[in-house]
């Protein structure tokens, strides 16, 4: 009985020392990880500014021809600060992007489109100009909201329904030919929706989600999460576009 007491005390001490030691290891790892993240963040910041200043050779020339259509998704909170959106669009104009679709779920940017078109130099509205009439030095803008997503597809489906019912012999299944991708594209155009498929989608916001961007158009679009619009950097934008130009898609094959 008496022999057990010192043994218990010893094992308890060993346990406590072990606890303390492991606690120390855990905190040390925590510090190391935090430092690594800080260093990584500083590195990214420095890299971004270096890219902006043109110090990194590979970002100086980007094959922008590969990026025919770019889309930007903006979080609803960020969309309220139109000045940031205007700044982003000016950067995209500088880079040489020809066609940009700007999306926010509530359509706030749609309401401010006149101001945006006025503040972004050489910008035109895509719906008015048409894809083929964009002059080389201008940028065509499109303003999109959630209404252009599911609502538009439902309206287009109704158009196809009417078309099917009007076809000569719907009971023979001949009208089934109205249900192809090109027919839905056409129906979406009738509804007033653009069917241009963006090559690259940049998401500015806290969530890594496209927030309801028109689904029909997103089939093979590259999606890049850029973080908060408030802290956007020109270098990060250039880096994302440059990375896209290097992507090779197999399209499932």
């Amino acid at each position: 009985m008496d022999f057990n007491d010192p043994m218990l005390a010893l094992s308890s001490s060993i346990g406590q020392i072990g606890d303390f030691g492991l606690d120390l290891v855990w905190r040390f790892i925590h510090i190391v990880v935090t430092l690594c993240l800080i260093v990584s963040g500083i590195f990214e910041l420095v890299e971004s500014y270096a890219i902006s200043l043109g110090l990194i050779q590979k970002y100086s020339s980007i094959d922008i021809e590969k990026l025919k259509c770019l889309a930007v998704v903006v979080d609803i909170e960020a969309a309220r600060d139109v000045s940031k959106v205007i700044e982003l669009l000016r950067w995209l104009t500088t880079i040489g992007v020809k066609q940009v679709g700007v999306f926010d779920s509530q359509g706030l940017l749609k309401k401010s489109k006149d101001m945006i078109l006025e503040m972004v130099p050489r910008s035109v509205l895509l719906q008015e100009t048409g894809e083929n009439n964009i002059s080389p030095d201008s940028i065509a803008l499109e303003f999109i909201s959630s209404f252009d997503n599911k609502e538009a597809v439902v309206k287009a489906a109704n158009i196809l329904l009417q078309k099917y019912l009007k076809s000569i012999h719907p009971e023979n299944g001949e009208g089934e030919n109205v249900f192809t991708e090109s027919h839905l594209n056409e129906a979406l155009r009738v509804v007033g929706e653009c069917v241009h498929v963006p090559d690259l989608l940049l998401v500015y916001g806290p969530v890594r989600s496209h927030l309801g961007f028109p689904a029909w158009r997103l089939r093979y679009t590259e999606i890049v999460h850029m973080g908060s619009l408030k802290y956007m950097r020109y270098g990060s934008l250039l880096k994302a576009i440059h990375k896209f130009t290097g992507v090779r898609q197999n399209y499932g094959v």
Binding site: W26, F43, V154, A157, L161, A215, R219, E222
Partner: protein, 290 residues
């Protein structure tokens, strides 16, 4: 390089925290030989919720694009078919883990309509793999009470596979709590068009009127109508590609997108937890202001 190092270190710290700390908190009494107190709750049949995750914030529906089997096989010096085999095994483990963590629905993009363009030998190998796996896992699905559904065009797939699909769906249709959805010969655009055709047929039969067609009705005609939660909360795509490649286009409107650089056969438990931790740390607003 630095971000990779930080990821490795954060994973290491997570492992230390989750494995060693519970052990250090255990009190051993030599006097009366009590059992070790693990410090975590455990319910039979459920996975212990890993540290850093909240069970009540688990997504209800997780979708996965299983990319990287071919590259994995190439790097390992194996045949493409072996890469797909490893991918199939990984899917079963992934689904099992998700269900144990309380996730109710798992959708997997097994074969897209565009994949028919691959080499015929690879396509035949994939069809045979699907058939073999579904057939051999029927008892497993039944014992684990997992409902299996297959969505897609299904017109081009071999008759034998179609038979096995029907057999598996029939054998598991009564299970409610766990649902595994396999997308075979699936295309997001086809899904939307299919919904249009379905609406037309119902309209012809007098079941719906033109004015009834709205988003809710449309959603009920999509191929994902087999589940109560057609819209995934989280989509995981492996192998570093950052696109959704025509998968669940309509359904992914507010889905959290998690792109992992890891190839699918290497996407193990730690990676799953990493994706779930990322999901739980996001502030999802569904387009509204909170």
């Amino acid at each position: 390089m630095l971000s990779l190092l930080s990821c490795f270190l954060s994973l290491l710290s997570f492992l230390v925290h989750s494995c060693i700390r519970p052990w250090t908190q255990a009190k051993i009494s030599l006097k009366d030989e009590k059992e070790i107190d693990e410090g975590t709750s455990y319910v039979a049949g459920e996975e212990e919720t890993p540290k850093g995750l909240l069970r009540e914030q688990m997504p209800r529906h997780v979708a996965v694009i299983m990319d990287g089997n071919r590259r994995w096989a190439e790097r390992a010096g194996l045949l493409t078919s072996q890469g797909h085999e490893a991918g199939a095994e990984r899917l079963i483990e992934f689904a099992e883990l998700c269900f144990k963590l309380g996730i109710e629905t798992v959708s997997a993009f097994a074969f897209s309509t565009e994949n028919w363009g691959r080499h015929k030998i690879e396509v035949n190998c994939l069809m045979s793999l699907f058939q073999r796996y579904l057939k051999s896992k029927i008892h497993f699905f039944q014992s684990e009470e997992i409902r299996v559904s297959v969505i897609g065009n299904l017109e081009k797939i071999p008759e034998s596979l179609l038979g096995t699909i029907k057999e598996t769906e029939e054998a598991t249709k009564r299970y409610k709590k766990k649902h595994l959805i396999l997308a075979i010969d699936y295309s997001g655009r086809f899904d939307i068009l299919h919904a249009c055709k379905s609406i037309v047929k119902k309209s012809q039969q007098g079941l719906i009127r033109e004015e009834d067609v709205d988003q809710t009705l449309f959603e009920r005609e999509l191929l994902t109508k087999c589940t109560e939660f057609p819209s995934p909360d989280l989509l995981i795509r492996t192998s570093g590609e950052q696109r959704i490649s025509n998968f669940l286009l309509w359904q992914l409107a507010y889905t959290e997108l998690f792109f992992s650089p890891v190839l699918w056969p290497d996407f193990d438990k730690d990676r799953v937890i990493e994706a779930l931790v990322s999901y739980q740390s996001r502030e999802r607003r569904f387009g509204c202001r909170i």
